[in-house]
Amino acid sequence: MLHNRRLILAHFWLAFAVFAAALLLGAWQMYVRSPLSPWISNPEWYYRSLTAHGTVMGYVFPTLVAMAFGYAISETSLKQNLVGLRWAWAGFWLIAVGAVVAMIPVALGLASVLYTFYPPLIGSPFYYIGVVMVVLGSWIWVALMSINLRIWKKENPGTPVPLPMFANVAGSYLWAWTAVGAALELLLQIIPVALGFKSTIDAGLARVFFSWTLHAIVYFWLMPTYIAYYTIVPRAIGGRIYSDTMARISFILFLVVAMPIGIHHAFADPQVGAGFKFLHSVFTALVALPTLLTVFTICASVEIAARARGGRGAFGWMGALPWRNPMMLAVTFSFVMLGFGGAGGLINMSYQLDTTIHNTQWITGHFHLIFGGAIVIMYFAIAYDLWPHLTGRPIASLGLVRLQLWLWFVGMIVTTFPWHYVGILGMPRRMSFFDYTDPALANEAVSVVLSAIGGVILAASGILFIFILISTQFSQPRQIEDYRFALAVHPPTRVPVALNSYGLWIALMIGLTVTNYGYPILQLAARDDTSVPAVYVGER
């Protein structure tokens, strides 16, 4: 039973409102950098837009979705009213106000440093302070998830923690720890310089701090998606979870190995030696493991649903799947995009192949396929699944939902495949325009136009998504049955302590982070010859 619907809806609505705004900015960016637009009048507008798009899509939107879903999971899976409601609202307002504080200087052109900051470029202090507020707001949620689980455990000794909550809390701990890297960079390095207390900064060290956040943050974005794979999809299509244990192992693996791998974002950087780069390459390979396990378990869970519906044969069961069910569509699209994006990720993680595509449009293609594609399409699915329970009204039109999901899938493929292609040709990313009259670039023009068309399709899908949510909110109320999560084929009656708590895994997570980052960070922090003058952005 959902008691705090207003809280959850507030998070979702803010998330989707900022998402829609950032989506339109993204589509505009693709248009102005394509040959369709005669010439960009002011490149600066492009970088403002890019900073806003990245900041919202990277920090604000997924954080709010994870929080909204997390509150819903806590209430429905633990069957216990949320403890700390006032704190939850405080966290929400910190994020809402923080987002505004960050976006005003961005809109004014005082913080065009993109969402990965790029010191020694230094923007307005309000931009960084706004981002810190967003993180602080989300940490309140982390604490609340932990506290709520603790209370439940005390009242239900010996009972296995329900899988959705187990995964949800693992995701919150993952976020709490990965955000520390960027927080250290902001608080120790960037904000003192932005406020004028210091005028120099170690750009190399800052990049290492950020890499600590930069990869595991993707797994934080991914957590709600994976929770939906395991605990919503099988129920929605009439199946069961193939293995509750494997699900727990996957989430634990994410918690432990998502963290100590971020230096693979710095393979081409001069401030980290080859040894640690190789170490992070190996660990990055390791993080493919929970995804490979998940792909197996979810396909098996889906097969169970198909066989229950009368599916037969080695592959014939696929025809028996409920293909008109939006959840079935969403998970299929998500898996296809995860497949392509994951294959690209394995190429990025190899420090030999990485040099071919490092910082090219390939990378943009890769993470849009993973985040914008595989992850966000499941955010849509989560919203569609929860909306009737949050509003007391059924989704207005399943046909529109199917259309929206199809548009998103097609739009994302049309956008990202050409990006991968021009990336291999060596087209750099984060550029406001290209001189397509140069013969060496002329053959890239068609691909860029295709991406821009993909952007328009995505924008249309995003608008349709918002329309469906709003129209549902204003439709006739109806009796909605209680919300529930998927059951396992063999529901766990007893779970080993290790798979029912986090102590051991958090210790491993911190220990591995310290071994994989401690030396590079200390080595750079100890040197006094690596700080360089700050370069301030915008008028001052």
Binding site: P43, Y47, S112, Y118, P120, L121, D202, A203, G204, R207, Y242, S243, M246, A268, D269, P270, Q271, V272, G273, A274, G275, K277, F278, S281, V282, A285, L286, A288, L289, L292, L293, F296, A300, M349, Y351, Q352, T355, T356, H358, N359, T360, L425, G426, P428, R430, M431, S432, F433, F434, A440, L441, V489, H490, R527, D529, T530, V532, P533, V535, V537
Partner: protein, 185 residues
Amino acid sequence: MTEIHDEGATVAERVERRWAAVAVLIIVFLAGMAAFAGIHQATMPQTTVETIDPTTIHLQGEFVESNLGSAVGADGSVTVRAVGQQYSFSPPCLLVPSRTPITIRATSADVVHGLLVQGTNINTMLVPGYVSVQKATFSEPGEHLMPCQEFCSVGHEGMWGKVKVVDKQQFLSELADKRRISCAP
């Protein structure tokens, strides 16, 4: 009923274990490939961290203007030095010989830049305060674009350098009476 149930559970577990083993093997294989290629120097990232003061590189040391461009060392090896700054490379056009191992040494004078040579896998970051080193060999004569691949503030989109690859004999004859050469106009 419970017996059938248990049997199903055993089968499920066995299948699952097999898949987990396959997944682990895939990962071991990938990491093994990386190790193998790394040890055989297919492309090794630079092993040592070198630092440099970006505020004085124009005045003294390796990256003064007269020392930029391509040079042949006493042992016959070719070294190319370049500096990135908002919003250009110095020199803006690198001249290199074909079929010759070269070493690129580059750094930044202000913010973070990137150096990417299209059509090759020469691709490195220029971080102020640090020197980037990359080894490369160009197989054929020709021209390549060399964009800055990392956002370096407004003006980033205008930061395009060039690499001109010439035959080794031509390279050496052009170098004959000079200490450093580039194809900058």
